[in-house]
């Protein structure tokens, strides 16, 4: 299972890394972070220009059980799972990607 987890994490790209990072940061700030916020942030970081891409990233992370998508008050809010946290930790240790600011979180904090 450890091997599988390692392989799954190796497949993650910069966008996935940032999504996990922003979701964790939002949770730490007790802020609800939904798909629309995520799409805005990805757009601001220059990583995508279409909402379909943002949704695809989220679906991939959900399928890997790295994030949870909960519909709360008609919003699709995102939460990081324990596996997601471990994956993010692994990526941080591998030093593959550096963080970028979240437009949404910087604006609200």
């Amino acid at each position: 299972m450890k091997e599988l987890f390692k392989k799954q994490t190796e497949q993650l790209r910069e966008s996935h890394f940032l999504i996990l990072y922003w979701i964790a940061k939002a949770e730490n700030a007790n802020t609800k972070y939904n798909i629309t916020n995520l799409f805005d942030d990805l757009k601001f970081a220059g990583l995508t220009r279409t909402k379909q891409n943002a949704v695809a990233y989220v679906e991939a992370l959900c399928a890997l059980c790295f994030i949870n998508l909960l519909i709360e008050q008609n919003r699709k809010n995102l939460y990081i799972t324990r596996y997601g946290a471990k994956a993010l930790e692994l990526l941080v240790k591998q030093r593959l990607y550096s963080t970028k600011p979240s437009h949404f979180l910087e604006g609200t904090s």
């Binding site: 990072y21 964790a24 940061k25 949770e27 730490n28 990081i80 799972t81 324990r82 997601g84 946290a85 471990k86 993010l88 930790e89 941080v92 240790k93 030093r95 550096s98 963080t99």
Partner: protein
């Protein structure tokens, strides 16, 4: 009748004979400057070109060609076209005209056109003129020589104008007088008594219908001296020097009929290059010394000329670049210590990473 294309071509054509001259330009204002028999305006798409001419931009002339193509290709038959190679209208229209002729299967000898081009002096004239000329010689002129659908191409150079500091009109007159000396060969043949050979109008037309560069000169001939030396020291310095004779023609005028036999020496000279010239020896009682008009057809020189132009054009460009660097650009030396930079970057990542792991711990996911 002659045709002048662009400003410089119009000047030459109208100066030769305004009563039979047709001039072509993209601007009415430019056309108004000349007194010509027929004026044709080629339609340029930009208003600025219509008002001010092509201003050294051959693309304007090329665009405008299609508006006059039918008329122009009709009137140039069996005629002489004058143009400069450095400007916009002359270069552009002649580029399309030569390419049009090169694209035809063949042109009958009776319809062939003689082209007279004036080349800039690369040392002192604007680099745009030199660049335009380079493209013109490398492109349409080379293709025209290959296709063989034009008559003689005559390449005058502006070099002597600058070296002798002549006024433009005076220099134009000099070029036209020189051209006239060549063009009157069949008239002289008809006017004076023949002593040997013959160049009639038909022979002359056949000769000018050949698609080579034409170099001609006229000088007093000393029958006792070497013809080769006399010819080489009397090359026409208004024209580019010839290289490798393909065909030749000469008219020897002698005041005394006994001097006529001197032409055998001239035939011997050309025979060395396996060239059999068309010639005529006439008795001209109006002159005191024998005089000869020689024309040489050649085709190699333009390649060397393009090389010369390239060298000068390149030299000028390098000078311009150096000047701009001297004037405007100061580059300070940027010193980077890669070890320091790597350490800094690693530290940033470490700090980032540490913060992320702390966040994950705080939210209880790790």
């Amino acid at each position: 009748m002659t045709i002048g294309i662009g400003g410089a071509g119009s000047k030459l054509s109208t100066q030769l004979d305004p009563a039979t001259s047709t001039i072509i330009n993209v601007s009415d204002i430019e056309l108004e400057k000349f007194d010509a028999h027929t004026k044709l305006r080629a339609v340029a798409h930009s208003t600025r070109a219509q008002l001010r001419g092509a201003r050294k931009d051959p693309s304007i002339g090329r665009d405008a060609f299609y508006s006059v193509r039918e008329k122009l290709t009709d009137i140039i038959r069996n005629d002489i076209v004058f143009s400069s190679t450095g400007g916009g209208t002359g270069n552009g229209l002649c580029t399309e005209l030569l390419d049009y002729l090169s694209g035809l299967d063949s042109v009958p000898i009776v319809d062939k056109t003689m082209f007279v081009f004036v080349l800039p002096y690369p040392e002192l004239e604007a680099s745009e003129f030199v660049d335009n000329t380079l493209q013109f010689l490398e492109g349409p002129v080379s293709r025209a020589i290959d296709a063989g659908n034009t008559g003689n191409l005559i390449l005058f150079s502006n070099q002597q104008k600058f070296l002798t500091r002549l006024q433009e009109d005076d220099y134009n007159r000099l070029m036209l007088d020189s051209l006239q000396e060549f063009l009157v060969i069949p008239e002289k043949g008809a006017r004076f008594d023949h002593l040997d050979g013959n160049i009639d109008f038909e022979d002359f037309h056949l000769y000018t219908a050949k698609p080579y560069f034409n170099h001609f000169c006229r000088f007093d001939f000393d029958p006792g001296a070497s013809f080769e030396k006399q010819l080489k020291s009397n090359y026409n310095n208004l024209l580019l020097a010839p290289e490798g004779t393909i065909e030749a023609m000469f008219l020897l005028e002698v005041p005394d009929a006994d001097q006529a036999v001197a032409f055998y020496d001239i035939l011997d000279y050309f025979a060395k290059d396996n060239v059999s010239p068309t010639y005529s020896v006439v008795h001209n009682p109006d002159i005191k010394k024998p005089s000869i008009t020689v024309s040489i057809l050649y085709s190699r020189k333009p390649l060397e000329l393009v090389d010369d132009f390239n060298v000068i054009s390149g030299k000028r460009k390098r000078t311009r670049v150096k000047k701009s660097l001297d004037q405007y650009v100061t580059l300070t030396k940027l010193e980077i210590d890669m070890t320091d930079e790597t350490r800094k970057a690693a530290k940033d990542v470490d700090q980032d990473g540490e913060e992320i792991i702390n966040v994950l711990k705080r939210i209880g996911k790790l």
